[in-house]
Assembly symmetry: C2
């Protein structure tokens, strides 16, 4: 047995980046993916989430592997949310300081760039290899391939095979594997705002556009071709506006005219796309342990989250970075130890971000439309400006730092409790600028000390 013959399941974003990290350490890496090589057989990604928001944690990993400059041209900075009301009015809410942005990037080309970099560094990539099972008694990985069934016995298996991970499915049959998959009541559908007839962006490209409508919302992220990819989030059923109640073009028009009229005006393909594109579900997946024998789960395979904090990919990239660091530190003679340390360290953080992603859905679809929420953001921004180390807004901790998610979560909850008190003051709208900011910081320091 070759001592460090590493098999990665999944040539998606996480699998490819992990391969790049490992190849840069000079290790022997093969990737297996069930999909065909898109350079040979292009396939549509319609219905999969095709736009993502790359932020600090993601960039940090790309920088570590020397890819930041290669990726930048594909990414469009969004400095805040542009919130659209029912009457076409908008308000801009910055994500952080003036120069802080999250970056819109499309899955397809980005994934391709990572796959090619992994290949360039010498990773073998085998497409059309669908993992059927991992046998933990024999350490065999069984693939279905166009040439029939294939069995391999790699020394190490890393499952970066996504929310519907085959490796995790095999682990689930093992004793004492804790597992949870929870679908939320909402689904989503991808739609498009194309470039204008003059070839321009139809709206401000440097923002994430949101149409918050309480129980549902529409969002739009810019693409380099000057289109926007929109995602409509609605309950599947049971509410006034839901997927089940949009049966024909008339229903669709009624909903869009009533709630998203400004977007509707710039969506010429809405009716075709809506009924052609699938309605996809949203799942939260948590499990533990992530390790079984010589196999480890990574990224969505171990912690698939709902998309409302824009952290799924960033968190997966951070997984790769942390795992890489442990391998560098502990060497490749002690995979057990590396994997054990990885899961122990990382699990509280991924639990926290899964939870935050769930909670942020309410903020996006509802709170951002509330003037009090905007005021709250303003006060927190001012606190952060005055006390840059003592008070960091939760969104900033998650998005623009690499503080552990669990620590950010705990700190965020403390700050939330204090802000609830601040906002309860009856004249807050008038007097927010005259608050005793030092006292707020003192309250927080006291709460932390308890």
């Amino acid at each position: 047995m070759k001592k460090n013959d590493i098999t990665i399941l999944g040539a998606g974003l996480i699998g490819s980046l992990m391969a790049i990290y490992l190849k840069r350490q000079g290790l022997d890496v093969s990737i297996y993916d069930k999909r065909p090589d898109r350079r040979k057989i292009p396939y549509s990604e319609a219905g999969r989430s095709i736009n993502m928001a790359l932020s600090h944690r993601g960039w940090k990993s790309l920088e570590q592997v020397g890819l930041k400059d290669k990726v930048l041209p594909f990414a469009i900075p969004m400095y805040g949310r542009r919130v659209h009301d029912e009457h076409g009015g908008t308000a801009f809410v910055p994500y952080g300081k003036a120069d802080q942005a999250i970056y819109s990037i499309s899955r397809g080309n980005f994934n391709q760039l990572l796959v090619e970099e992994a290949e360039r560094l010498g990773a073998e990539i085998h497409f059309e290899h669908k993992c059927l099972d991992v046998n933990f008694r024999t350490d065999e990985v069984i693939f279905d391939t166009p040439e029939g069934e294939k069995k391999l016995t790699p020394s190490v298996i890393i499952g970066a095979d996504g929310a519907y991970s085959a490796l995790r499915m095999s682990m689930q049959k093992q004793i004492r594997f804790n597992y949870r998959q929870e679908y939320i009541s909402h689904g989503y559908k991808e739609l498009t705002i194309p470039a204008t007839p003059l070839g321009e962006f139809a709206m401000d490209p440097n923002a994430l556009h949101i149409w918050p409508r309480g129980k549902f919302m529409l969002i739009a992220l810019p693409n380099p071709d000057k289109s926007f990819t929109c995602t409509l989030f609605l309950p599947f059923q049971g509410t006034k506006v839901c997927f089940e109640k949009i049966q024909d073009e008339k229903d669709l028009e009624t909903v869009f005219r009533a709630y998203f009229d400004d977007a509707y005006q710039v969506m010429p393909d809405l009716k075709t796309e809506f009924f052609k594109n699938p309605t996809a579900a949203l799942v939260n997946i948590e499990c533990y342990p992530w390790v079984q024998g010589n196999a480890l789960l990574l990224g969505d395979a171990s912690h698939a989250m709902v998309p409302f904090y824009g952290q799924g990919m960033n968190c997966g990239f951070e997984d790769c970075s942390i795992l890489n660091g442990l391998i560098e530190k502990l060497g490749t003679n002690a995979w057990d130890l590396v994997f054990e340390k990885f899961q122990k360290k990382r699990k509280p953080d991924t639990d926290a971000i899964c939870q935050l992603a769930m909670e942020n859905f309410i903020e996006m679809r509802d709170s951002v439309a509330d003037p009090k929420f905007l005021l709250r953001k303003k006060i927190e921004a001012k606190l952060h400006e005055l006390y840059p180390k003592e008070w960091i807004p939760l969104y900033t901790m998650v998005t623009f730092t690499d503080m552990g998610y669990a620590e950010a979560y705990a700190q965020g909850k403390l700050q939330e409790a204090i802000m609830n008190k601040v906002m309860a003051s009856p004249l807050i709208t008038e007097n927010w600028d005259k608050l005793d900011y030092e006292d707020i910081i003192n309250q927080m320091e006291t709460a932390k000390a308890v």
Copy 2:
């Protein structure tokens, strides 16, 4: 396609009882089980939970199918818990009124009795048929059999195939299936207290014996052959007394002498059994929906609980009774409707009993050793005696009535809050008999009205 060709997966207690119900309605039923026919190939059940506590809900179902009298001879009534302290002292805590008991019964013979009754009524039973997959597009059920792979397309599938259900595994691959499996930190091992050399029970046979030791416990249930089946519940690892730290006979003896000395004196086979029998894990499983296409999950397949409320089998039998009632009422032309009503009605109740089972572990292993707990039981018994309808102890609601588990749970929580106040009174031990019982009932009625 035959319209009412029903396939039941699993010839365990739940599958067999469901077949009996359906045959009594004159329906066409086949059962498929992965195990061999134990009449032809006997197999050991060592390590599976082999003793169960049959209580009101279970008996009610058996009565409905006319089996109560046939089962009674196999069952030994236990009127309460006999709590053993470290020094060999014991205390008896009744489960309910003087004539209320739960019944110890062994899985093997009981299961056999149900299988034979199902056969007698005309159910076809196919052993050595391991369900590999259920394909919801084609409605095919695929079995591995000694004669090779077999495919069937029954009109209805009922998955009574237990905590590791193959039907549920197939459902889990479908979209929007919520699922959760959670192992607790404790495992269990089955042991035996045999009949004495004179052929008698070594202890009082009409009680469930408990050795509560805080973080762990031993229990013993009587068998008709005058032995007791004991179950030792310990943490797998990480505590002073845990499975990981019992590596040899010396370790074992040390633990048993220190904590279970009176039991140790009547366990001649302890050392052999302990190292021969497997250490089994304990899992809580919840999922939803229970229905996919023409298939329904039943019993442990849809809600496997930890064994600490003695309700797993009783709850599964009640599932059968409720499903049977719905089929009788709505007929066999509307399986969709029957299944939908079943899962909607039943899910809150099974969630409640899963939760109660988890909570009761602490009561069994810890609280029952506390004099305050015994006093609390006494006060509640008196309340129940004085106000038989207004105050029913939680254990009684769950075990000796067929009130919905969810309702029992809610009512139990109200009562618990009131009892916490009652027990907080400093002189409660001295004055419990002089409490204002009417006032307690009034408090409860007020709490309920809120």
